[in-house]
Symmetry: C2
Subunit: 517 residues, 2 copies
Amino acid sequence: MNGAQSLIRTLVDAGVDVCFTNPGTSEMHFVAALDTVPEMRGVLGLSEGVVTGAADGYARIADRPAATLLHLGPGLANGMANLHNARRAHTPMVNIVGDHATYHKQYDALLESDIDAVAGTLNGWVRRCGGAAEVGADADAAVAAAREAPGRIATLILPADVSWGEGGQAGTPVPARPAEPVPDGAVAEVAELLRGAEPVALLIGGHACREEGLRAAAAIGAATGAKVFAETFPRRIERGAGLPNIERLGYLAEQVTYQLDGVRHLVLVGARSPVSFFAYPGKASDLVPEGAAVHSLAGMEQDVVAALTELAAKVAPDTEPPLAAARRPELPSGELTPQNWADVLGALLPEGAIISDEANTSGLLVPGATAGAPRHDVLTLTGGAIGQGMPVAVGAAIAAPDRPVINLQADGSALYTVSALWTQARENLNVTTVLLNNRAYAILRMELQRVGAESSGPKASELFDLSHPDLDFVRIAEGMGVPAGRASTAEELAEQFSRALAEPGPHLIDALVPPLL
Amino acid sequence: MNGAQSLIRTLVDAGVDVCFTNPGTSEMHFVAALDTVPEMRGVLGLSEGVVTGAADGYARIADRPAATLLHLGPGLANGMANLHNARRAHTPMVNIVGDHATYHKQYDALLESDIDAVAGTLNGWVRRCGGAAEVGADADAAVAAAREAPGRIATLILPADVSWGEGGQAGTPVPARPAEPVPDGAVAEVAELLRGAEPVALLIGGHACREEGLRAAAAIGAATGAKVFAETFPRRIERGAGLPNIERLGYLAEQVTYQLDGVRHLVLVGARSPVSFFAYPGKASDLVPEGAAVHSLAGMEQDVVAALTELAAKVAPDTEPPLAAARRPELPSGELTPQNWADVLGALLPEGAIISDEANTSGLLVPGATAGAPRHDVLTLTGGAIGQGMPVAVGAAIAAPDRPVINLQADGSALYTVSALWTQARENLNVTTVLLNNRAYAILRMELQRVGAESSGPKASELFDLSHPDLDFVRIAEGMGVPAGRASTAEELAEQFSRALAEPGPHLIDALVPPLL
């Protein structure tokens, strides 16, 4: 078997059996080898932002990595924004980046570029395959590195001649290093704080935002009076009726200041200390309240759920966590507004839904409207690089074909990776995209004011305006094979949303929701 | 004035008065400052691949750099593939990459990433602005670096607090270092070769592909019997009736081997020695014929046109260069074929057209069909990273609003930066896109065979097939505000092409041309 065949065999044996790809000539032997390993599923994206975002969404739902196959440096670069988002999400992922044959690199052919340097900025694991015989072991090491808690991006650079070279050997899966134990004394120290008189807040992140962690955190809050928050952009947070409703820290510094007001001790549980998303003139970057102390119950690389469970056993042994009651908004009527579209979503959200949330400013009222909806998962924009929502929906739908995936998608962000719609159609994925179309980069209008820029005039405003010409997302979606309709009233949105959920395959609703601000 | 204002003032004073952008919060002061410097034109792209590709196309036609304004590391990364192409084209460009405020970087906010490392892979000029007072001088240095022969990418990283900080001072334009003189003796050495008995070929690139260089090279060829070739992917090559018709080296190694057969001396004039685009098992990477010697008349950083002119004066003092006669194909009829669509183009190409060529396999017969068409410029896919054609058309049309721009665009490449169509509509650019729709990554079908992969089966084939579902480029274009039609016969293509050229603003024709191979 050649290097490519051993690579795919090894990945499958290690539990990686989906490969999102946009290949080129240097990856042709990998592509050919797909037919020799029937367990590996290849999924085509029409640009690499779709490929890497889909792998991110897949792993967030499947709890195991997908592979990507990317074409040389430019392919990697095109996928970098969603790799950045995946890095911030601590998503496990195995990138295979094809490269020129080893002996060809000296010629600096036109597509040559510094793959290693670009991959190195992901702060993950990077290795260059040295020969066909080593590919199997390299791939096993990559999968193990990707799965190491809390999850990271492993990039394997695969020269074309290593791929086509004979002597490939399938590897033997290497167990990922388990999450580290919680440091001695951390639980006792936090328990002591919680028993004290000063106000405490827990800030949970990563795996703590799944049911077990949420229940423990909510019980701790109920028993001790501590506030409990989830990080602003969790990789995956479970919500809905029958689960604790944990508030996320806000995106705006002003919101966080309000949420943490009066807190004297901030306890981090798999989360980072809160900082402002951007700097603003004359405003603080560090959002820990003045005079408050920051403590760590467990770091991301540690077993955050075990830490919370142990802490709950100490301070809330008999406390049942408060759970969200089943309660939906009434189905609203009238022209779409930032509130009523969220109410439509809350009223109709199906059981077991996965929400890929890139609604940005249009989504501010969604958490309230869906808190009592049936149980669902929310996947957020984890690294702030827009263009993540549509590809993440692709990956989530492939990981969970029986669950409805809802992509809440802002218009300004949609065009980065819009060809994800084509992959949704090609793979017949159950993704319903609600395109929140306010015909603007609304967030930038707001940010222009927030940064205190004085002299804003027509040229600046023009750069936030997406209405010259209007983007017609119905046609764009149809052009990519996705049935689509337009909704300008709550009734139309409700009718189209219900129909989209009832039919298999992807749908898009161009929802004309005016800007919130 | 603040740093941002001084930056824009300085750029304009240095001759950079178009800025392609997709800004974010950290660039808000730059955006606000646009209204204080009326000479600077801001052009919005909906993703950064459009922004950087447009800046490339602009400079190739305007012969001076445009600026880009990009949002942090992810914005730069999204633009990297077309920056790679621009690097290979030696296109002058000034990237402004916004960054977090200097004091904010320590917090590793979510959008933080290693901008310097990624920008560093462009092998150009990179500087991080240290303070508002230095921005003007930094910008002048960036423009001078960008314009240094043969042209390169200068990246200025602009922290938000430098942008909003007071004390900005407009700089004083710095002259770009002129092209280096041709080394002593080089002209005489090549003249000697040309007078000798052994077969010689000239390979010209860069600025030598403009009229003056072409005429000198063609005269040399006519007087001495030397073959003359242009590099495979020139930044800009002038063609058509009344100009020498210089053949480009082929994309496929087999073509180059045929073209250079028998050559004993290969003389490089602002071009690189030919190498295979990719490596193939058992085939040579270096395409210089065995036993042939490689000589340099002038390097890219030297005055290649002066070198050719001086050489022509020595070896062809009385020779008029052979020029292409005005001759167009007959307007063909019938179902579209790889030949007849090119004939439609040749029959109808308007005077002074600019062709942005990303037709890939579908474009193989275009050079022959257009050789005797009215004079035009061709902008090629200079770095091999697909997704360049549509954005380059945007930039070319902004640089030359009175010239018709024709984008020959392969379907497989189109979805990378398809939102360039929206910018074409917004700016009402005279771009006619001929979308060569063969419903496949046809080049990869060919490459799969060429790399000698044995076991290709249905899973591999599926990854090159764009027909499940068909991409409907008419709807996609209309969704972005560009009028569009579909052509399946030569008559339809001719009719729609003529109409598109007659009407102002952008148009797209979805031309159903079957694969060449």
